[in-house]
Symmetry: C2
């Protein structure tokens, strides 16, 4: 699965990049792909509603293939811009130098712009519902609003604001994967389909929120956690509230879609994270200055 | 005309922005609108092929209205990112502080990202041909490639490279206005329509190139021109070649579309620029260290 997704990614990038050294920045930023979490969620959602996707994914011009690459490339653009000196100022990403560190600042800025552009180029053949959701969720009322709140003073103001940031910055793209993986094959939208999409939207919300809160917890598995990270990590300052929210979201996730492709994909992910947390239990407990809370992962 | 375009622009921005102080950066960057050159070209092109546009423009949900705002907002995003410290590092734009100077760097970066997002949100209801052209022309093989070449060493390497940059960075969005203003009302694309779109593409190329070369000339109308500007201004270093190219493009422009809405729009523009050049003739000649070349404006 990873192989075919990464292959499509490469095809879609090269098709939309100039034959010029500038392409380097793009390929460096998007490849090798990460966990491909979002494309895999989209595929699982597709298969739950429309059956096997193997033949679709083998054809890079199929709507599902285009959506998968668009999700991953869009995700990559947000990382490149997030890492810029004026944003989070991160020198490393996915075990290598961040794009601006490797190529320079304006090169990374333009590579980010260009990857956003490619993601929108890729989705143009998709149906209106998918495109509308994609552009809304990633736009200035969605993901970009989350980035803004994250960098402004809004995050520190309240636990609710922190949750809103996770909802916008993380959940919106996961919702795009879930809702998009369903919508992408839809002929027309009636009440039934709308209800279905809404359910997936809610599930994506729960998934995005818990994904990010679990991620925040695993970050405490490092011996060295930066001061800024410690300051904004909800597990340090609002542990009880965080456990309550996370367990509530996990309950929502587990109560839905039993024995579906999506639930298997989610289980795989939760197991992996559970392992990761267990293996660095002591370090996490050191940062928390208390026992690891009981999580229903 | 300007009033209705600016009104639509405001409606489209507010509809896609969060109710949050973050909206300020967007509204500051996009309003008051500039000359609205690109939307006006799109409208002229529309009217030449499909008749009066007044009723369409009065309805902000009409494809033409959406295209006009998308063109202007996309243009505004490129300016905000171009002005950033890591790019051209400009403190002023359209007679006021540039967005990053007024609001800060990451705020401007995100406002640029968000405006690109809005432009793509706006075009989603348009037909496939228009969307495809829009996303190709503004993407990493188009406008963004031009920005890259402009900032890299490529520009200084040859006169041909400088022309390529103008073609990508300036002409692509003008071509989007021309081709888009025609395509936006198209039912289906046959050979005839394709030929028509191709003609407009060529005209947009000529227009974008001359627009930028004329702009380069008027920049010499300032008493103080920065060293960098002097270094890259083609009128200083390749005057003869520049005159030849410009007059050739002007000839192409004038030979086509006599008595059309588009030719009137272009004439208005050329007259304005001609006045501007005449009024600062002496200063320009000072920079050129020779007489103002004969232009067929």
């Amino acid at each position: 699965m990873n192989q075919i997704l990464e292959n499509n990614l490469k095809i879609h990038l090269l098709k939309n990049l100039p034959h010029h050294q500038m392409s380097e920045q793009y390929l460096y930023s998007a490849l090798p792909a990460g966990k491909l979490f979002r494309p895999k969620l989209a595929i699982a959602c597709f298969e739950d509603h429309w059956g096997d996707s193997t033949s679709k994914l083998k054809d890079p011009t199929q709507p599902l293939s285009l959506l998968c690459s668009a999700l991953e490339i869009h995700h990559a653009y947000t990382l490149v811009h997030d890492d810029l000196p004026c944003m989070d100022d991160d020198d490393f990403r996915r075990g290598k130098e961040s794009t601006h560190k490797k190529f320079g600042e304006w090169q990374a800025l333009l590579a980010g712009d260009g990857m956003m552009g490619i993601s929108f180029q890729l989705i143009q053949p998709l149906n209106f519902e998918t495109r509308r959701f994609f552009s809304w969720a990633t736009g200035p009322r969605g993901l970009i609003f989350g980035q803004y709140m994250d960098l402004s003073q809004d995050a520190a103001q309240s636990f609710q604001n922190m949750l809103l940031i996770h909802q916008l910055k993380t959940a919106r793209l996961i919702q795009t994967a879930l809702v998009g993986g369903y919508l992408v094959n839809l002929d027309k939208m009636t009440k039934t389909e709308f209800k279905k999409a809404k359910e997936l939207f809610r599930l994506g919300h729960a998934l995005g929120l818990s994904f990010q809160l679990i991620d925040d917890l695993t970050e405490l598995g490092d011996e060295k956690v930066g001061t800024h990270e410690m300051n904004i990590n909800p597990w340090i300052h609002q542990k009880e509230q965080t456990i309550t929210v996370l367990n509530k979201q996990l309950k929502i996730i587990k109560s839905r879609h039993q024995n579906s492709c999506l639930s298997r994909e989610i289980e795989l992910y939760l197991n992996k994270m559970s392992q990761k947390i267990k293996s660095s239990k002591r370090i996490i407990e050191g940062h928390l200055k208390s026992e690891l809370p009981s999580l229903n992962l």
